[in-house]
Point group: C2
Chain length 573, copies 2
């Protein structure tokens, strides 16, 4: 976990010889506090930061954001390769054998790692590691495979930081052995993606479509559907795929892909998925948060087909007696980190077993088999619920008295007060996000667009959606920052296509696209276009971002605002 | 329906001899537009307005609000009795028999009524009647019984208005006959109420407790529970009471009170009820709306005991096949207007039959039989749903393909855009309010309170609740108008009582009371205290009232704000 603090008081980076809390202006003038975390991903790019004192605010802001991290990755990769020579055996430091290094695998014995032939005692750094004590898994061995998994480490300042902890060189013999173990890139088998996507993080891959594409199709083509991966995309053989269903009285149930397709009725549900971090970039403008710097397009809509989770649970022995002790259904993905920990999440049991919950074990997206990025061969689709619970590459279902114990359920994807910071946060005090609140955004025009006065009117387009099956019933659009309002037309289809049928009450899982054309105000030279949606529980979006700000930058759903300039017609002579 | 319009262009009041749209400054300088409405009550006090030109804005604002109407009623009742002489047979106008009057019962034949011996041709006024064409029911007869039912008419300016339409006198013989028919007050058997209540309307009775009382008890004592009546309180004999259940394949089912208590398991649910108009007074400050001028206390919490509606519907023949054609469950009250039209509402069928919906046919409130004001002997309690659907004095349940056709379901209790006015409103375009949005308010300190600097801190208290069974998970409180925030402590019990057990997911029907104590900011001389709540779908309250404004003044749930002055300690010499 990361926390920005004022520059004046803190630095916790740097070699062990530097006293903590001592300011070292030339090296680490601003601090990032590092809290422990068991997570292996989460909706964040854990970032390491060390930048010259004059530019720290800019650099820090950019780097902590996901896109910033990726940018930094790209910019610094070449330089990082140059400073890789820090590992070269040219110092006067002592020589250690691998056997000696391996003895240092705990805080008591010291935590040593090797990197390109150098030996590093990082004991002091463990408590400051942005990724938490997961760093201990590397103790006594080479750190390269971990950095291959978490590409955020491939930055110059990380290597600089590491160099401060150097205590020796690995023996020539052991260096040769290490080089023989080829370190492979766990992301090398990730699928190809469409270049139109705006990438927030390459490894793991996280990207969103341009907004104007998003609202051009009611059903989002899979290539443009936002991608939200926490780990490398696993390669799953559909022929040998087995889904495990556990925790029910009848014992464990194993289902092949064929079983899922043939033993259970096939249902199709049109459902919008949205990342909890959608529109995080607007919160970042208020005050920096931790996480991928999503724009407004971490949301998409598709038709999903598969077996109902309810049917599978019933086949596995679910009955009313189970509800006496069980309250949650946990999901585990087949995507896993280097320790074998897979992505995990859970949903309330009543959502899972309700006939109206429409939770699918989906094997089709828009009528085709699931693409690799969207969970091939089977994913959970939990309509109305935050994307993070829609576990992809589904490996295991566990009916349980407890929520998933995963990092993403317990210490991530929760909302807090604007007054809560990383010093005061208690993750147990907030519920895991399940249903999402009312949301809408403007996809056209873009912020900063120019409209000619001669056009006389402006057309505004966007999307609106609410969690929990609550139907969007109205979208209000203002051209004057919220003083006066127009009511937008809503639609549930693409031009020329039949509209989606009206959903039963409480089962409105799909978004609505909207559009309004209004005359350009004669007086205005600039428009502040604003949208706000209302669902059938009459929940509305909050007016402004700052009071919704939270340290994880989730649940960003204030009125969306774009500014547009009106270009006056040129006078002709 | 009422609409305020600009003073410059309109007047539609006044006798038929005055041209419409002509300004008559001395009599009716500002207009109230009158739209047709079939309603016989609704969440409004239909108001008639005619005030001197210099004070019209003030008078209009006060009168259109519910409390204003009541105030006006009290102030003007005496005067009204004085001007009752307008009906005296002292003019030179023609004499009509009752038989002649009775011939005028339509717009074609003219619409005549009598009032205290005077004959009035109100044909022109029908289209302008705030209460809609229900006025036609009085055609050809005496208007007194209607005015006894709708006490809002008992105001001087209404009588002045009527006098403009006078066309003759009723014959002496027929006047005697009319006087023999004693006009009774339909509200005469309404129960006694506690004098602490703040009355918004006497007839029908609508009142709320003082806010500081409200938050002093987690379970609201029935005497302090807000009262929301649309019509006189009916006198129901529990021994002969019969509940009709209709629309199911097995035919009609009749249940006595004893049947309800003995044939079905008794359930107890703690549920908060809130009027759709709660906090309407804040919308009135933005721009006048139509309806009772509720403060923040049209909300209360009680334990309700009774049979589950689901169980009764199953006993009456409900089965899965019914859900193929039925979508709503309608309720009719035993309270009725002079035409015999009873109060009515409906809820979605899935809420009614869901095991988790917890809809009760309640015969107890806080462990005692229902008080008369709260629906004795049986009312519906629809947890999580707007008060208006929790029909009191329940007479009939109808399973149907259609929503209730009642005024209150179709043309009232719906939300609209701030840009929608009475000229453009289409009631069919908005869904009937069912689940309510997230809500919270500050009960202590009161707006305008003074805190001594020497106290060093301030304690803020209030309530928070959300509709649809969504649990309140956090309340943020600010002392500086929303710049910085404190997190309040939530509680679900009274001091010394056990806390309510945590509700199952989606079944959090009861409010939470909250409290926070924070240091007085050293710099501030005035505090703007603000609260905002968050539910477990992470819906939040909007920041400001104006963008939530709607012509009916419902769903007022912006941040609640109170201003408090800090009194500096006096210097001692």
């Amino acid at each position: 976990m990361l926390l920005l603090r004022g520059c004046h008081s803190l630095t916790r980076f740097g070699p062990r010889s530097i006293q903590r809390h001592q300011v070292v202006p030339a090296v680490a003038p601003c601090a990032v506090r590092l809290c422990s975390s068991s997570g292996g991903g989460g909706d964040d790019q854990r970032s390491y930061q060390r930048s010259p004192s004059l530019t720290w605010t800019h650099g820090l802001a950019g780097l902590l954001a996901g896109t910033g991290a990726v940018l930094a990755y790209g910019l610094h990769q070449h330089k990082a390769e140059q400073v890789d020579t820090i590992g070269a055996q040219s110092s006067s430091l002592p020589i250690f054998s691998q056997e000696e290094v391996t003895k240092h695998r705990s805080l008591e014995d010291g935590v040593w790692v090797t990197y390109k032939g150098g030996v590093y005692d990082i004991t002091e750094f463990v408590a400051m590691h942005p990724g938490g004590d997961k760093i201990l898994l590397a103790a006594g061995g080479a750190i390269e495979p971990f950095w291959a998994l978490y590409a955020v480490h491939n930055q110059e300042h990380v290597l600089e930081m590491l160099s401060g902890y150097k205590v020796g060189e690995l023996s020539a013999e052991d260096r040769k052995k290490q080089q023989a173990v080829k370190s492979s890139d766990p992301y090398s088998s990730d699928p190809e993606r469409h270049p139109v996507l705006r990438i927030n993080s390459l490894k793991p891959f996280n990207a969103e479509p341009p907004p104007e594409i998003l609202s051009d199709s009611y059903i989002t083509p899979p290539a443009f559907f936002f991608k939200r991966n926490h780990l490398p995309v696993p390669q799953v053989d559909p022929a040998s795929y087995q889904l495990h269903v556990e925790g029910l009285p009848g014992g464990s149930l194993m289902l092949s892909l064929q079983d899922l397709k043939t033993r259970f009725p096939k249902y199709t549900v049109t459902a919008t998925l949205q990342c909890a971090g959608n529109r995080r970039s607007e919160m970042n403008k208020v005050k920096q948060v931790k996480g991928l710097n999503w724009g407004i397009a971490a949301i998409s809509n598709a038709t999903w087909s598969g077996a109902k989770l309810r049917d599978v649970l019933l086949a596995a022995g679910y009955g009313p007696n189970v509800a006496q002790w069980a309250q949650h259904v946990q999901f585990e993905g087949l995507d896993a980190d280097v320790t074998g920990t897979s992505y995990g999440a859970s949903i309330p049991l009543n959502k899972a077993v309700s006939e109206d919950g429409d939770v699918l074990l989906a094997y089709e997206m828009n009528g085709e088999e699931l693409p690799a990025d969207h969970g091939f061969p089977v994913r959970v689709v939990v309509p109305g619920t935050v994307g993070a619970r829609n576990v992809k590459w589904l490996g295991k279902i566990i009916v349980s008295a407890d929520e998933s114990g995963s990092h993403w359920q317990q210490n991530d994807y929760k909302g807090f007060s604007p007054g809560t910071d990383w010093d005061t946060v208690d993750f147990k005090s907030a519920p895991a996000i399940q249903e999402l609140p009312i949301q809408s955004a403007i996809t056209t025009p873009a912020d900063g667009a120019v409209v000619d006065r001669s056009e006389e009117e402006v057309t505004v387009k966007g999307y609106a959606w609410s969690g929990g099956g609550r139907e969007v019933v109205r979208v209000d659009v203002s051209l004057d920052g919220g003083k006066t309002w127009h009511v937008a037309r809503l639609r549930t289809n693409d031009k020329g296509q039949a509209a989606e049928p009206s959903p039963p009450p409480g089962r409105a899982w799909a978004w609505k696209l909207w559009e309004v054309t209004a005359p350009l105000p004669t007086e205005a030279q600039e428009l502040e276009i604003v949208c706000k949606a209302v669902d059938n529980s009459y929940n509305m979006q909050p007016d402004t971002v700052a009071p919704t700000w939270n340290l994880r930058g989730v649940l960003s759903n204030a009125w969306h605002r774009v500014k547009v300039t009106i270009r006056e017609d040129e006078e002709e002579e």
